[in-house]
């Protein structure tokens, strides 16, 4: 068993950390304030190859797999959770197309997503279909005359949805069959019948745009169906499982940074004649934060390793996401507490991190849904 990163992974970590510090951190507070997607920073991610992580080089990708994604996303999350979310969610689309697409689809769409500068999005959630994918109401009806599907419905809470050039969406092709009647499609921005609803005003990760997508007689060529007809649920689950590891990476990064800030502040903040770091109460906080965070990291890395080794990782993905997210909230809360009044102020990053961290317990499956997944896997063994 070898816990060390490869030389290339270590360099990737260094690059991601440098990028986060030099490009993401300077705008993190600003995009939180203005609620604006950092267009220039996304372009820089493309240029350095972050948007091609996990995609083969023949499709314009930069190779690597889930562990590389975890490394980059958690470094980003240290300095800007919104940007970490953007990268993490963007990668779902190219990975899903790579896993399930035809050669033609891969040739057509992957280079646009990996190096072409287009953002990817993944649209499953609907007003009445959150954790329960069977509740999807969007329908796709086949039109034999034109060999197209006509799609109608609404998707909500779609990260990057209004900015994305290429989206993977889900619609019912056999509505009566529930999840077994769902299919996946690749759609493009600008297709007639595809419009955007409102942009959500969120508590955290405000630099990542969350949009409502509206399909009104959206006509999609049948060749844009991803995978088999009625095979969408399997695709959605595989994509979500992978996405959960990405969320764990976000939670991991924000927890690491919170510890670093807490340690620094505790060393500098003098009360009653000595730095508060000298108080055992603070020391024990730090010990708890560090231990739980290290445990969370190892579980996340393990899930990523399973994914990269081609093994089943559904249960471990749910575990690492559930655990890392809960840990992030725990750690950021204590770090803010250690900062006292300063931590509560908008000028200090912890206030933002506290709001940002919360999302990791909610999106790509709530903690409660993960517990269902985990308990089923454990009890049905």
């Amino acid at each position: 068993m070898d816990f060390s990163l490869t030389k290339e992974q270590a360099m990737l970590k260094k690059l991601a950390a440098q990028f986060a510090e030099e490009e993401l951190e300077p705008v993190a507070a600003e995009i939180d304030e203005t609620h604006e997607f950092p267009v220039e920073n996304f372009a820089k991610m493309v240029k350095l190859g972050f948007t091609g992580i996990g995609v083969k080089e023949e499709y314009g990708g930069t190779g690597g797999g889930m562990l590389e994604k975890v490394i980059a996303v958690s470094e980003f999350a240290k300095k800007c959770m919104a940007s970490a979310a953007t990268l993490s969610i963007h990668l779902i689309a190219p990975h899903t197309i790579q896993d399930f697409g035809t050669e033609e689809q891969k040739q057509k769409y992957l280079p646009r997503l990996t190096k072409g500068g287009e953002l990817g999005a993944f649209a499953l959630t609907e007003p009445n279909a959150g954790s329960d994918a069977a509740g999807v109401k969007t329908v796709a009806v086949y039109d034999e005359a034109t060999d197209e599907y006509v799609i109608n419905g609404t998707k909500c809470f779609i990260s990057g949805g209004a900015r994305a050039g290429v989206l993977v969406i889900f619609a019912m092709t056999e509505p009566k069959m529930g999840t077994r009647g769902m299919s996946a499609f690749i759609i493009e921005a600008g297709m007639p019948g595809f419009t955007y609803g409102k942009i959500e005003n969120k508590m955290g990760i405000r630099g990542s745009e969350t949009a409502e997508l509206v399909f009104e007689d959206l006509r999609v060529p049948a060749s844009n169906m991803l995978g088999k007809k009625n095979g969408g649920f399997k695709i959605a689950m595989k994509a979500l499982n992978a996405a959960r590891i990405g969320v764990a990476a976000q939670a991991q990064g924000v927890a690491d940074e919170a510890i670093a800030l807490a340690v620094q502040y505790a060393g500098e903040r003098v009360q009653f004649g000595k730095p508060i770091a000298a108080l055992q109460g603070i020391q024990w906080y730090i010990a708890d934060m560090a231990t739980k965070t290290e445990a969370a990291r190892n579980l996340t890395y393990y899930a990523a390793w399973l994914a990269d080794s081609g093994k089943d990782f559904m249960c471990e993905a749910a575990m690492c996401k559930y655990n890392a997210a809960e840990n992030a909230r725990f750690v950021v809360n204590l770090a803010l507490q250690i900062h006292g009044g300063y931590g509560y102020m908008h000028d200090y990053p912890l206030e933002r991190m506290y709001r940002d961290a919360k999302i990791t317990e909610i999106y790509e499956g709530t903690a409660e849904v993960h517990k269902v997944v985990i308990s089923r896997a454990v009890m049905n063994k």
Binding site: E8, M11, L15, G52, I53, G64
Partner: protein, 267 residues
């Protein structure tokens, strides 16, 4: 056409600097970084590579772990790297170092259209000497403090900074240029594609055996023993006392300030 970029791995003096009890630097406790001015030199070379497609070679002298730095430079876009490493070379001062690097460059080959770029100075010693001394050993013209470098054919035009302005200098290759940072030449980062390629690019280690017979190497003038300069004493300055608050805020106070500054030679 080839540009050699001479780089150095240095302790990060902007971070925590630990000093041993005997007054020497505790290098083990410090982070190492690529010397900032050398990164600027690399960026200048890569900009010329972007425009001309020339070959960029990173060269360093140092212990084997310096490989990590060279791989990072390959990930930034350098084409190949040379590590000059031998116990016999350890402890060299600038005179000895420049002799060895010059020999390594002659050994590797320097053609008429080639150039050598260095950073202005390294943050550990701040000497700014190795660049000009490599140029002297190779009998090449040098341009130091270069902020902008343009190359057309075998002619380079350089903006050389002075404290109170600048000079525009024209120069035929081969030549050596030492680079300073200017606001437009922010060193690029590595790229992921570059990282994937970094361990596949040509990487050469030149040891003592390889270089010892080079005409530029004078065996009695390399390493700690051969270096012309020696450290006589190294020491830490007395700890900075806690600050003083000056009384009042009138002319008497500022006069007191001025006399303190005179005493400290800051004015």
């Amino acid at each position: 056409m080839r540009i050699y970029v001479c780089v150095k791995q240095v302790p990060d003096t902007s971070g925590v600097v630990a000093v041993n009890e005997d007054g020497t630097l505790n290098r083990a406790s410090m982070q190492t970084i690529i010397n900032p001015d050398d990164l600027v030199a690399m960026e200048q070379a890569l900009m010329i590579k972007d425009a001309t497609g020339c070959q960029v070679t990173a060269v360093t002298m140092g212990p084997p772990p310096a490989e990590g730095m060279l791989r990072e430079l390959l990930a930034m876009g350098a084409d190949d790297a040379i590590l000059i490493s031998a116990r016999e070379f350890g402890g060299s001062d600038t005179f000895a170092t420049s002799q060895i690097i010059a020999a390594a460059i002659t050994y590797t080959g320097l053609n008429d259209e080639d150039m050598i770029f260095c950073g202005r100075q390294a943050i550990d010693g701040d000497t700014a000497q190795v660049g000009p001394q490599i140029a002297e050993k190779l009998n090449l013209p040098q341009i130091s403090y270069a902020a902008e470098i343009k190359k057309e054919g075998n002619e380079v035009t350089v903006k050389r900074m002075l404290e109170d302005g600048y000079m525009m200098i024209k120069q035929q290759t081969p030549c050596l240029v030492t680079c300073i940072s200017d606001q437009d030449s922010h060193p690029r980062m590595m790229s992921i594609a570059g990282i994937n390629a970094a361990y596949k690019k040509p990487y050469t280690v030149l040891d003592f055996e390889t270089l010892k017979d080079e005409p530029l190497i004078e065996l009695d003038k390399i390493g700690l023993k051969g270096s012309p300069t020696n450290i006589f004493v190294s020491f830490t300055p007395p700890l900075k006392g806690i600050g003083v608050m000056l009384e009042g805020n009138d002319k008497k106070t500022t006069d007191k300030l001025a006399s303190m500054l005179l005493e400290k030679h800051v004015i």
